[in-house]
């Protein structure tokens, strides 16, 4: 493949990934409102289009036409930087997620992934750790009590749970022996007894999966860990002073992060795009991507389900849970996994 085709193919992949991700983000908001509404015995959005399917479009238009207020007391450079930083880091993380195996279209042979790097997992961890600054700076530069408290909570929470999150992944890394997300998926191919897939969740990483899910909810500031924006006490937390598209950028970043977490969960624990492949050649090419998307959507659904079910933690409970329960559990999981792999 020449450098010209490589760049062209990369640009096409980036455009497609961004379109799909942003559409996904828009419709995740609708799905969330609909599912939570049904959990609470309501209808949810139902006015714009059949079953409210055009609601995200209406919301988007509304955000664009809202007045963009920049309060006079903010520290402008960082106030403007914060939402951009949040959204950029959230969207960039999708670049290393593999959504399918290698495909050939004509003479072009390419992986279904924007960048197949051998440190894929570390890239995602790095991007999320930079994303913390978006939240931290938003609160600080807003120069308001609620924002400040929200962002202090968010930074402390994200830094604390990042440790449990990172450690929960070590077990998977020991099993697959690579940081490359593609290699991690390939290490999960095959079955036990002919029908149980060898996904990491079935090969002894169930506890790691549990830790990952808990930590990921906290990392993305979702219920039951949504203390940074606890509306009953902090108005809206770190984005209290933001309006119009700047607020929408934080909103999109939150949902994009949800998708990243869901993609990572399905790659690391549920075998990524692996699944039964059958039928004519075209169907065979499409099915892996379908399996991957279904797994991701299942995660998004669980996210929403949890949101509709659980109440919010207290802050001391949150910190104790992270440091005194998840952290030791993750360490124990690493030791047991290492022992099993060493004795195998």
């Amino acid at each position: 493949m020449t450098i010209g085709t490589y760049i062209l193919v990369s640009i096409i992949k980036i455009v497609i990934a961004m379109l799909v991700l942003l559409t996904g983000v828009a419709y995740a908001t609708l799905a969330e409102r609909k599912v939570v509404a049904h959990i609470q015995n309501r209808w949810g959005p139902s006015r714009v289009g059949p079953f409210g399917v055009w609601q995200p479009l209406a919301d988007g238009l509304k955000f664009i036409f809202k007045e963009d207020v920049t309060p006079p007391f903010v520290y402008r450079p960082l106030y403007l930087l914060a939402p951009v930083l949040s959204l950029t880091m959230a969207l960039t993380a999708i670049a290393v997620i593999p959504v399918g195996p290698w495909v050939s279209i004509g003479s072009v042979h390419t992986p279904l992934q924007i960048a197949d790097v051998n440190i894929g997992l570390l890239v995602i961890l790095g991007l999320t750790s930079i994303g913390v600054y978006g939240v931290a700076l938003a609160g600080w530069s807003s120069n308001s009590k609620y924002s400040m408290l929200g962002s202090l909570r968010a930074s402390a929470q994200m830094v604390s749970y990042e440790i449990a999150l990172g450690l929960s992944l070590v077990g998977v890394l020991i099993y697959s022996g690579s940081f490359s997300l593609r290699d991690i998926v390939m290490a999960q191919s095959g079955t036990f007894l002919g029908f149980i897939p060898k996904w990491n969740i079935f090969t002894g990483q169930f506890i790691a999966f549990f830790i990952y899910i808990m930590a990921a909810y906290a990392e993305t500031n979702r219920i039951p860990f949504d203390l940074p924006e606890a509306e009953t006490e902090l108005v809206a937390g770190y984005h209290t002073e933001y309006s119009s598209m700047k607020f929408a950028m934080f909103f999109m970043a939150e949902y994009a992060n949800m998708f990243t977490v869901a993609c990572l969960a399905s790659v690391l624990f549920l075998g990524g795009w692996l699944g039964p492949v059958f039928g004519p050649p075209l169907l065979q090419a499409v099915l892996p991507v379908v399996w991957f998307v279904l797994k991701v959507l299942a995660f998004i659904f669980i996210y929403i389900w949890v949101r509709g079910t659980l109440p919010r933690f207290r802050y001391d409970q949150l910190m104790a849970f992270g440091w005194k329960f998840l952290f030791p559990l993750a360490i124990a999981n690493i030791m047991v996994t290492a022992l099993v792999v060493a004795l195998r």
Binding site: L78, V117, N118, I119, L122, V123, L125, G126, S129, I130, V132, Y133, A136, L137, G139, W140, M148, S151, L152, S155, A156, V159, E162, S178, F179
Partner: protein, 172 residues
């Protein structure tokens, strides 16, 4: 391509480092330091050390600097006060001293490493070995060839952590 990227990120790194010193507000200085760390990570990438680059971003730009920013936010540190008359000795002696120090440094490096090593030609991957800089080769070095120094360092870090815990504990 490598040379262009090296020049760009080298310039960004030096620019951010100067900005770090010039800025009056601590949070701007902290953010400049993050930019320095980030561009250093890119320089590592250009050298072919992907793992070190990723760790640089995660540990330094991510974890360490978050704590810096967190402390600045928590203390709500304001703008630094500028003394009305700064030391004249520092200005008179500082600039020539700096130039002299740099010249000596460059001379020493050039004398012992050979002048061709410091020629401007962008970074070069010196090691031609297979898989240089990737996680598994780094792991082999750390856990096989240099296991003892590595473990001793980790004990040192553990002592530092314990010391911090003891110092931070409230007197009963």
């Amino acid at each position: 391509m490598h040379l262009v990227l090296f020049l760009i990120f080298g310039a960004v790194c030096v620019g951010a480092a100067i900005n770090l010193l010039v800025q009056k507000h601590p949070i701007n200085s902290a953010l400049s330091l993050i930019v320095v760390m980030g561009s250093l990570a890119v320089l590592y990438l250009l050298l072919g050390a992907e793992f070190v680059a990723a760790v640089q971003v995660i540990v330094y730009a991510g974890a360490v600097m978050v704590l810096f920013v967190f402390v600045i936010m928590l203390l709500n540190a304001g703008e630094e006060e500028v003394l009305p008359h700064s030391s004249r000795v520092a200005i008179v002696l500082g600039v020539p001293g700096l130039i002299l120090g740099l010249a000596v440094g460059i001379w020493v490096v050039a004398r012992y490493a050979g002048f061709d090593r410091i020629a401007i030609g962008g970074p070069r991957v010196l090691s031609g070995s297979e898989g240089f800089g990737n996680p598994s080769s780094v792991a082999k070095l750390l856990f096989r060839d240099y296991l003892l120094p590595f473990e001793v360092t980790s004990v040192l870090v553990l002592i530092a952590i314990l010391g911090a815990v003891v110092l931070a504990r409230r007197e009963e």
